[in-house]
Amino acid sequence: MKIIQARRISQVFFFLLFVWFCIVSTVGEKLWQLRGWPVNWFLQLDPLAALGTILTTHTLYRGLLWALATVILTTVVGRFFCSWVCPFGSLHHFVGFWGNRRKSVAQKIQLNKYRKPQRIKYFILVFFLFMAAFPSVAASLQVGLLDPIPLITRSFNLVLLPIVDRSVNLTSVAGRFYEGVWVILAIFFTTVFLNLLIPRFYCRFICPLGALFGVINRFAIWRIGKKQLVLRSELLRRVANECINCKLCEKSCEGGCEPAGNMMRISECVLCFNCLDDCEENIISYQTQPSLAGEITNPDISRRGFILSLASGIFAVPAVRLSNKLGSNWYHRVIRPPGALAEKEFLKRCIKCGQCMRVCPTNVIQPGGIDGGLENLWTPVLNNRIGSSGCQLNCVACGQVCPTSAIRPITLSEKLGTDEFAEVGPIKLGTAFLDRGRCLPWAMDKPCIVCEENCPVSPKAIYTQECFNTIRDGILTIKKVSDNTIETIEDNLSLGKFATGDYYCVVEGDERRKIVANTENSIKISPDKLFEKIPTGGSKIEVQVRLQRPYVDIEKCIGCGVCEHECPVSGKKAIRVSAEGETRSDDRKLLLKH
């Protein structure tokens, strides 16, 4: 079996495994649902995520320890991850191959030559690492933006899968929605189609993970290179193979590392082994000796470029934070999932992988935009209008899947404030604020208590106060009263309108009585409260509607958003959650704790 066959099988295996992990990330017990599938494995194997969080938090969190395995293996054998494991890389590899397969050998060799812009990915790496490097001053983890594993995870989970699944309905019954992800799709398609220009475009020029591998593989024990021949006799030397400079090895070179040239660029070699397979003279091998023609182990970056990236990285975070989005200018619609850390700490850990958005059973977690600040991009933000119901009371799925603990894996007791957390109380995501100008019972004289009914906490955080309002054109004149029927002079009443049980009538200072039915010109009151003194013709009667007007009890409200979701004023909701009062922030409290 050829090594490249093994490589291809490995690429297919890991790509399918990745896609499978995307498919099964639905909470549930069926085989195609979450169960115990290690859906974060690729993210955990990613050393850039691990390194990033080490810099920002000075800890290596749990599952990210897998990255050590990747680092050790890369240090010993080279950039195997890029060609054998990375699903994004495999995708680029395939598209690059497919798109350029009809080109001539000479054209292909030309496509795969080393280009100076390949150093850009190192600058990107330095930029991101220095953005994360000084947590005591200002540090932000933005590696997730261009790190290929979170990138492909986002693209599949938030765009491709929802689109495909709409017709199949395997991963979700109702279809998933994610705000603003056309940008993610655009980026994804762009990177994929750029391979038609130059194969493995993203890998060669942009990928900061590849750059990281390029830095650490310099001491690899085995590397690709031209064989150093050790001959036993002069005779053999004459028939021994020598490099004839055909450059066939560069025909399918994935890394742009120039095995044919004078200096083999180790840091660019992604171990695709295509050169080894293509060489007809059997010169190229995977060996412990350095390449016969010489090799360069260091990435080709200039000091100037390095310093520029470094400085940019150091200045970038403080510059962005001048908007004071982490201080008093914070954006109230950034409501984070339960268990999310305080904002500064959160931004040190979130790698924008989108796993929380994928797993959320109610589809309420959405990728954030930049209205909450640049650092808010693709971080999890709740949008109670999307999905089936705000943040479901008894669910803590998001924290369980977050690979970096930007959202802590909390227990249900901690979320609800029960058992050992009873003194601390429940986790609040924010507080619901009633918009009395839009609320039906407050502004439109229409009975409605949907928000109160749906409030899931006990005792409810929404309570109502009864009030009776005389309706429009509600003052009528009595013609005659018999038994419990009041005939009115006005004969344009809407048939049955007052029969819903919400309407009452008051006759000139007398008691309020419930209306049970009405015709165009008569009103029937409940037989339980008949008139003691029959009103005379000509007296006035006021028709009133009984309204239960909702109030939010901010001590009990946990900001789950179910009320906002259920509110029948479906455009701009009459009750909306905003992040004031969230437990994760000290400085956004609404109330003193009692």
């Binding site: 079996m1 050829k2 090594i3 066959q5 093994a6 099988i9 490995s10 295996f13 495994l17 639905t26 909470v27 549930g28 017990e29 085989l31 979450l34 169960r35 115990g36 599938w37 290690p38 494995w41 979700s172 019954v173 109702a174 021949l229 053999l236 028939v239 021994a240 193979n241 003279e281 059997n282 010169i283 091998s285 059973p361 109610t362 089936s388 119901s389 479901q392 009371l393 008894n394 669910c395 803590v396 799925a397 369980q400 894996p409 249900l412 029960t418 009914e453 749906n454 409030c455 899931p456 906490v457 006990s458 029927t485 819903t500 049980g501 919400d502 049970v516 039915a517 029937k524 037989p527």
Partner: protein
């Protein structure tokens, strides 16, 4: 040609196969890992949570009962489904009532409050094939101490339960106690059913509007699908209670295929009464001439108006009965003339 190419090639093969073996082991490892899970990490009853997605979609038979779980509640038991053969296993002696009224299927489930295990409810959803059937079983079982439950029309509630008709379904939501909190949850389930359970709303019950409104006791209309008043030919018969002074008078009506059929039924019902010792009474009312009978001291009036067989059943007071009968005649006449 290279130096000992065969060995190199063999080495390559060996390594390749070893790598594939590693891949295989990884696959096996992942597969084994997925058996090891604890669903409660994600919250209570994840089956419920993941099914919540269906709340926004209109569902039909069999409808997803667990998607009706009210806020703050979880499912206490599995969904149970019964057909005509095993219905008695669930409701015992009441089964014949349903089975004779067009019963198709019963689906039940219990929901329990997360915070208070003593608060739970059971949902009974009877699929009765048609709206009329559902209305029938709903109306004949109506409790005396019931209250209306606006804005639902065909619904009533007692201290711990809610009963209503939704399309062809007769729904009972019975709570474990008379708790306000529990009832609110019950109301929520009812609303969810109303909002999400797709039913044919076009088939209403026309007869409900054919009873005169004046003095009608709200919620007293019942539908007897068959054997009304013990007479087997009196099918599809609606009855309603009316107030008259301190007493109530029962009126009834039944729409037949046409006036000829109505006449025939009325005639045979009167014969049936006479067979059972009823006696025709005289009346001052012209329109009711010959239609008023005395049945063991109570007044029974049977007449037809167009395709309707209608009348008064077992009234204590003949005058009140006749008065009501006249109103009924007028009402049915106006209905016929529409």
């Amino acid at each position: 040609m290279g130096l000992v190419p065969g060995r190199a090639k063999r080495l390559e093969s060996v390594i390749s196969i070893c790598l594939l073996a590693i891949l295989f082991l990884i696959g096996v490892g992942v597969f084994i890992k997925q058996f090891n899970y604890n669903m409660s990490r994600y919250g209570i009853d994840t089956a419920t949570i993941s099914k919540l997605e269906t709340q926004n979609s209109k569902f039909e038979i069999p409808f997803e009962l667990s998607s009706l779980v009210p806020a703050g509640f979880g499912t206490l038991s599995e969904v149970e489904v019964y057909n005509s053969e095993n219905l008695y296993e669930k409701i015992n002696g009441k089964a014949p009532l349903y089975i004779e009224s067009g019963f198709e299927k019963l689906s039940t489930q219990r929901f329990v409050s997360i915070n208070n295990q003593s608060l739970w409810m059971e949902l009974y959803a009877y699929d009765m094939s048609t709206v009329k059937n559902a209305f029938s079983v709903y109306s004949v079982q109506r409790r005396i101490d019931s209250e209306a439950f606006p804005p639902m029309q065909l619904a009533y509630k007692t201290g711990n339960a809610l009963y209503f008709v939704h399309g062809k379904y007769y729904i009972e939501l019975v709570g474990s106690s008379e708790s306000g909190e529990l009832f609110r949850a019950i109301a929520e389930v009812a609303r969810k059913i109303q909002a999400n359970l797709a039913v044919d709303h076009d088939t209403g019950i026309a007869e409900l509007a054919m009873f005169p409104q004046e003095n009608l006791v709200l919620g007293s209309i019942k539908l007897y699908l068959a054997n009304a008043f013990g007479f087997e030919r009196l099918t599809n018969t609606f009855t309603a209670e009316y107030r008259s002074g301190n007493e109530t008078v029962t009126a009834f009506l039944s729409k037949r295929a046409d006036s000829k059929d109505a006449e025939a039924i009325a005639e045979s019902y009167r014969d049936f009464l006479i067979e059972n010792d009823a006696v025709t009474k005289s009346t001052t009312n012209k329109t009711l001439e010959g239609k008023v009978m005395d049945f063991y001291g109570t007044t029974e009036i049977v007449f037809t108006v167009g395709p309707f067989v209608a009348g008064i059943h077992e009234a204590e007071n003949q005058q009140a009965a006749e008065k009501l009968a006249e109103v009924l005649v007028n009402k049915l006449n106006s209905v016929n003339n529409e």
